[in-house]
Amino acid sequence: MSWLTNYVKPKLQRVLSSRETPDNLWHKCKACGQMIFQKDFEANQYVCGHCDHHDRVPPAGRFNALFDEGKFELMSLPRPVQDPLKFRDSKKYTDRMKAARADTGDDDAIKVASGTIGGTEAVVAVQNFYFMGGSMGMAVGDGIIAGARQALKLNAPFVMFTASGGARMQEGILSLMQMPRTTVALQMLREAGLPYIVVLTDPTTGGVSASYAMLGDIQLAEPGAMIAFSGPRVIEQTIREKLPEGFQRAEYLKDHGMVDRVVHRHALKDELATILKLVMGGQYRRRAAAE
């Protein structure tokens, strides 16, 4: 179904159409500059084997690494009004969307799936930084709301992987409104006694950081991830000072009380499995509200 048509097929097409140039055979680490065989890089969950730099992971890579035996069910997400503002900058928004869709094979910057993690059923939403910088518009908001509703239906915890530069400017005020909209979805989980767990990945900034990314019952973060409300450039322009070392990185946020744990990607699945088991296993746990 949608998994095959939306993801596998375009990917296959891309693989078939592209020649085997060093460009997609090799990955150059953004941090240390070392060349890594792309297949090894992906097998290592996009972590550099030389310097341990955690690169950005597309949703499929997350789901495969996270769910038991790589088995999961992808949700089909609502398709909101396209280009609600008829926005055009140097390019038309619709053209930017077309390009992003062709490039990723995805509809928008979020994917939601359910399955088991270490035996515990969970709904997992993953933002895709490779789709217009993971920016949050109606589709991302709707995806999170749909994910939260699915978690309610399954009486399962909701795990959110954030990766976003912030609001999708081309959707103007409607992108800003995703802050309250997604918050409503999280309140529904809270009221049903279901855990909401956030994994902050690189980068998580702007309106995303100032809404669902910071409202987790438990806040995990990947090493080195940039997590900020205002980006470092904006701050530098405002205060005209050099920023402190490690400013707005995951470890910095942990030191300042905003993150529970910084977790290496290779340990993430086990860690989540343990947390989900504990947090869903309370002997005084409220029974499912509905049904």
Partner: protein, 334 residues
């Protein structure tokens, strides 16, 4: 996204004088003429009544034409007008017994956000809002209305209190955005904004918001996730400043006017999109021309909204508020 623009402080001495915006120059010239004519005829023995009357008629038409056809960029200038009524003006004019309450009980007091107990048209309430300041000294004290986490955490504390004591909450939004600074980030600006939005959406008492001047991004929405979102006729509400948007998408600040248009930041567009509930009309020539009248009209709109929620229980207020936000975005602009 945050905004990096700042209101340019006017000199102290200018305060008594009207500040004219670029596009208001023909209006200013006409008003100057009328003043001249009046002072020329003052104490002299001839009647200039008909000339003045004519000019005043012309002035009225000019004001009406200008303000009926403001571009989004011009509206942004009106929204940032230094003489536009600010939080303190509105509270002084519309409420009694205002008792400001300070501090977030965690770190400090941030005067970019003011809040406290008050009596609005006879009813006890909590009122919270951004204050930009009105002269150099107060602008610095209020940090030009750009709040730090402490400002939002104070807002959360006051909303919480209102909820416990059954007091309706009135918020007034007027900020170019939350403050982008090292300390603000260090102390969790993102978390503070997220929790404040969260608090708005969980209140069991009525929450009425007005976008008074600038509604800048997350720094605005943090106190604006309300049952009723009112917006002054020439106010703006945006995910990013047109300047910031232009520099990112067009890669030049010079396209800020185009960005202002593309972003759909005006009250009229936001009403079409269903993001705001009602436009509060401004006096001819903008709220800064007749502050008192503007504030009275605002008071009437807030009162009307509060009356419409009278007697509703907390569960219903919460549900209506949430349903409104969930339904948002179903329609675009054609």
């Amino acid at each position: 996204m945050t905004r990096d623009n700042k209101t340019v402080p006017t000199e102290k001495g200018e305060r008594q004088m009207m500040t004219f915006l670029e596009f208001e120059k023909p209006i200013a010239e006409l008003e100057g003429k009328i003043r001249e004519l009046r002072s020329f005829s003052h104490g002299r023995d001839f009647d200039i009544g008909s000339e003045v009357g004519q000019l005043e008629g012309k002035l009225g038409r000019l004001l009406k034409d200008t303000y009926a056809n403001l571009t989004p960029w011009q509206k942004m200038q009106v929204a940032r007008h230094p003489e536009r009524p600010h939080f303190k003006d509105i509270v002084a004019h519309l409420t009694e017994d205002f008792t400001p309450l300070a501090g977030d009980r965690t770190f400090g007091e941030d005067e970019a956000v003011i809040g406290g107990l008050a009596r609005f048209r006879g009813e006890a309430c909590v009122i919270i809002g951004h204050e930009k300041g009105s002269d150099t000294e107060s602008r610095i004290r209020h940090n030009f209305g750009m709040a730090r986490p402490e400002g939002y955490r104070k807002a959360i504390r006051l909303m919480d209190m209102a909820d416990r004591f059954g007091l309706p909450v009135i918020t007034l939004v007027d900020t170019s955005g939350a403050y982008p600074g090292v300390g603000a980030e260090e102390r969790g600006q993102a978390e503070a904004i997220a929790r404040s939005t969260d608090k708005c959406l969980s209140l069991g008492v009525p929450l009425v918001t007005t976008i008074v001047g600038e509604g800048g991004s997350g720094g605005a929405v943090a106190i604006a996730a309300a049952n009723t979102v009112l917006m002054f006729e020439h106010a703006i509400y945006s995910v990013i400043s047109p300047e910031g948007c232009a520099s990112i998408l067009w890669r030049t600040n010079e396209k800020a006017k185009d960005a202002a248009t593309a972003l759909k930041i005006t009250a009229q567009d936001l009403l079409t999109l269903g993001v705001i509930d009602k436009i509060v009309a401004e006096p001819l020539g903008g709220a800064h021309r007749d502050r008192e009248r503007a504030m009275n009209m605002l008071g009437d709109a807030i009162e009307e909204s509060l009356k419409s929620m009278a007697g509703m229980d907390g569960e219903r207020l919460r549900r209506l508020r949430r349903e409104k936000f969930l339904a948002m975005g179903a329609k675009g602009i054609n």
